[in-house]
């Protein structure tokens, strides 16, 4: 945090801002692939009577392995940001009034301004790259939804070993129900995230940014 890099060091000769460092991009795409595969194998586990692409046994094994990869990936993300000055991207805004005001400005932009060519209300910077809507969503997903999902998943992975925790949680059905509710949230999030990613200057701008790391120029 003390060695905070000046913004100009993130600007290359073409005046493009370097938003997404390599570890973040690797983490993001691994997470994206993992989320999609977990959703697909989860659907196969839950709906074997409707979907029969792979067997229940295989889908459970795949789901477990991918789950562990995503758990490790979450810890990599966590330690990366905890040891990086880029943690500022996730730090909450303590001025609630200001945050709510900016949140609604952003919502208004998405609901109207974006269609009439208004300027984006949030100025994207490497240490403040998320707009208020993004920040709240990612805080919720990364700090609440993902941990709850992997803790409940771990409990169901070895019911006997985690019997005490399951009992504390109120039983295996509660653990499973929580896991499935998180799964439902992820399904909605993936749709939403994929679509919001298309709201750059070009429909592919944000996707390209997540591969190159550099922000695409605005129109």
């Amino acid at each position: 945090m003390n060695n905070r890099e000046p913004i100009h060091e993130h600007i290359d000769t073409k005046q493009r801002i370097y938003l997404h460092p390599l570890p973040v991009r690797i983490w993001h795409w691994l997470n994206a692939l993992g989320f999609v595969l977990l959703i697909l194998t989860g659907l196969q586990i839950r709906y074997a009577d409707i979907i029969s692409v792979i067997s229940f046994e295989t889908s459970v094994q795949l789901h477990n392995w991918i789950g562990f990869v995503i758990i490790v990936n979450w810890f990599l993300w966590f330690f990366y940001y905890m040891t990086s000055d880029k943690i500022t991207n996730y730090l909450p805004d303590f001025n609630a009034r200001d945050f709510i005001k900016r949140y609604f400005e952003q919502a208004q932009y998405y609901g109207y301004g974006i269609f009439v060519g208004e300027q984006r209300p949030h100025d994207v910077q490497p240490y403040d790259k998320f707009n208020p809507m993004q920040k709240l969503t990612y805080q919720f997903v990364m700090l609440i939804t993902v941990p709850i999902t992997f803790f409940s998943g771990l409990m169901m992975w070895d019911v006997d070993y985690f019997a005490g925790l399951i009992e504390l949680a109120g039983g295996i059905r509660i653990v499973n129900t929580v896991h499935v509710i998180m799964f439902v949230i992820f399904v909605f999030f993936v749709f939403l995230h994929a679509y919001m990613g298309m709201l750059g200057s070009k429909w592919w701008s944000h996707y390209k940014e997540m591969f190159t790391g550099y922000e695409e120029p605005h129109d």
Binding site: I45, R46, Y47, A48, D49, I50, S55, F56, E57, V60, Q61, N64, Y110, G111, Y112, I114, F115, V116, M156, W157, D158, V159, D160, G170, G171, I172, R173, I174, N176, T177, V180, I181, F183, V184, I185, V187, F188, V190, F191, L192, Y195
Partner: protein, 440 residues
């Protein structure tokens, strides 16, 4: 002098008698002595003299009881050494009970249980805690008494039992023994009494159920450990391929998979979490029992809401019990439990249970333990397993896919529709706004 002689006459007579007796013994052949001893009055022979004939007694219930005793069978029985009066002591006292009224054959056998107990205390105590004795106490006229299994007079050592015929259990449990005979255990017994070259002798009734302290199988689940006592590597073998193997082995009965043709049901047993015991006949469970009987006899079986209310009842203020429902997938009948097949034929397809269309969850019962140790089952609507209320009422039983909660399915559909609707609505909104801008 005369007085002296007359005083010695008794002694002289005694001496003469002794001399004559000694002389008679000395000249009499040994065979003659033995023959006389055999003809001496034997108490058993005196009994047999009458009871080998067709004696009969009319009982109070109208039945005519044959009093004939097969002397040869009794003579070769283990009880021949104690003789008739060893058990029929009332006769030994010189009071032959022929004129005493006997209410029924059953009541007489029941009375004789006490006679058996006097010598066979340990065995009797084991029997006394068994399901058979519990049923007798509950008033059953079919549950076996000592003589029903061991016979009254032709009692043999257990080593001499014809175990292959299922004796004596198969006498009452005929259908179950027939199912057993067709099982991997029964077949192996017929074919050389071995399952594999290096394996144990194949079990018959008492090897799994024990001989006297026979428990109500369904209420204890002790048979899982009984299976394991021979199939020592079963747990390890299941862990090689079955996810959550210990949990499966706790909540799925062995025969549910190893009797692949058996019909299945989910039994939700009322379980006292505080006292760690099945909810039984104790007074503290009386309100629970009454409510269960009330909702259990409703048409269509117990509904999700009724089941939820039943469990909530135990969580009411002032109740010092925490009752849960312990779910277990098991075979639907005792006969099915005995139709065990070779492990190669056991169900290994996960979709048999982990599928929304699985028949494994079509039959659901809620059970409470009776005083005799057996379960009293009440049918429940199968929807109890997929209701959102089951999160609270059946918190400990869940099979992914098979017993999924329907409300969460609708939630998922909503999430997908919502996820698709956002882009559609947003793009449409954009078009409308741009069109309006152009108009202006």
């Amino acid at each position: 002098m005369t007085t002296e002689i007359s005083r010695r006459i008794p002694a002289l007579l005694a001496a003469a008698a002794l001399f004559l007796a000694g002389a008679w013994i000395a000249v009499t052949p040994v065979e003659v002595l033995a023959q006389d001893a055999a003809e001496a009055p034997d108490p058993d022979a005196r009994c047999v003299k009458c009871h080998s004939r067709g004696l009969k007694k009319k009982l109070e219930d109208g039945e005519v009881l044959s009093l004939k005793v097969d002397a040869e069978a009794f003579g070769t029985s283990v009880h021949s050494v104690i003789g008739c009066t060893g058990c029929h002591r009332d006769v030994a006292k010189g009071r032959h009970p022929s004129r005493q009224p006997i209410e029924s054959r059953r009541s007489y056998s029941f009375e004789k249980n006490e006679t058996c107990r006097q010598c066979h205390r340990a065995k009797y105590e084991a029997y006394d805690g068994s399901i058979h004795a519990n049923l007798v106490r509950a008033g059953s006229d079919k549950a076996p008494l000592c003589s029903d299994c061991h016979s009254a007079h032709a009692i043999q050592r257990h080593e001499t039992y014809d175990r292959d015929s299922g004796e004596p259990c198969s006498k009452c449990h005929t259908d179950i023994f027939t199912a057993y005979e067709e099982s991997v255990h029964g077949t192996a017994r017929r074919e050389g009494n071995r399952i594999r070259a290096d394996h144990f002798e194949s079990p018959v009734c008492a090897d799994c159920h024990s001989a006297h302290d026979i428990s109500a199988v369904a209420s204890t689940g002790y048979l899982v450990s009984t299976c394991m006592s021979c199939h020592e590597v079963a747990e390890l073998a299941h862990e090689q391929w079955l996810p959550n193997a210990p949990m499966h082995m706790k909540s799925v009965g062995c025969s549910a998979c190893h009797a692949p043709d058996a019909g299945l049901r989910v039994d939700l047993q009322l379980w006292d979490q505080v006292n760690q015991q099945a909810v039984g006949a104790e007074e503290r469970y009386a309100p629970l029992r009454a409510t269960l009987a009330e909702i259990g006899n409703e048409e269509g079986g117990i509904s999700s809401l009724d089941l939820w209310k039943l469990i909530r009842l135990t969580k009411a203020d002032g109740e010092n019990i925490d009752v849960r429902l312990r779910g277990r997938l098991e075979v639907a009948t005792g006969m099915d439990a005995h139709r065990l097949q070779d492990s190669g034929q056991a169900t290994r397809t996960c979709e048999n249970c982990h599928d929304g269309d699985s028949v494994a969850f079509d039959k659901v019962t809620v059970s409470i333990t009776r005083a005799d140790g057996r379960k009293e089952r009440f049918e429940a609507d199968k929807a109890v397993l997929s209701s959102v209320l089951s999160v609270d009422s059946i918190s400990g039983f869940y099979a992914p896919g098979g017993t999924r909660i329907k409300l969460l399915d609708y939630l998922l559909v909503l999430a997908v529709l919502g996820g698709l609707a956002v882009p559609v609505v947003h793009v449409s909104l954009g078009k409308i706004i741009r069109r309006k801008m152009k108009v202006k």
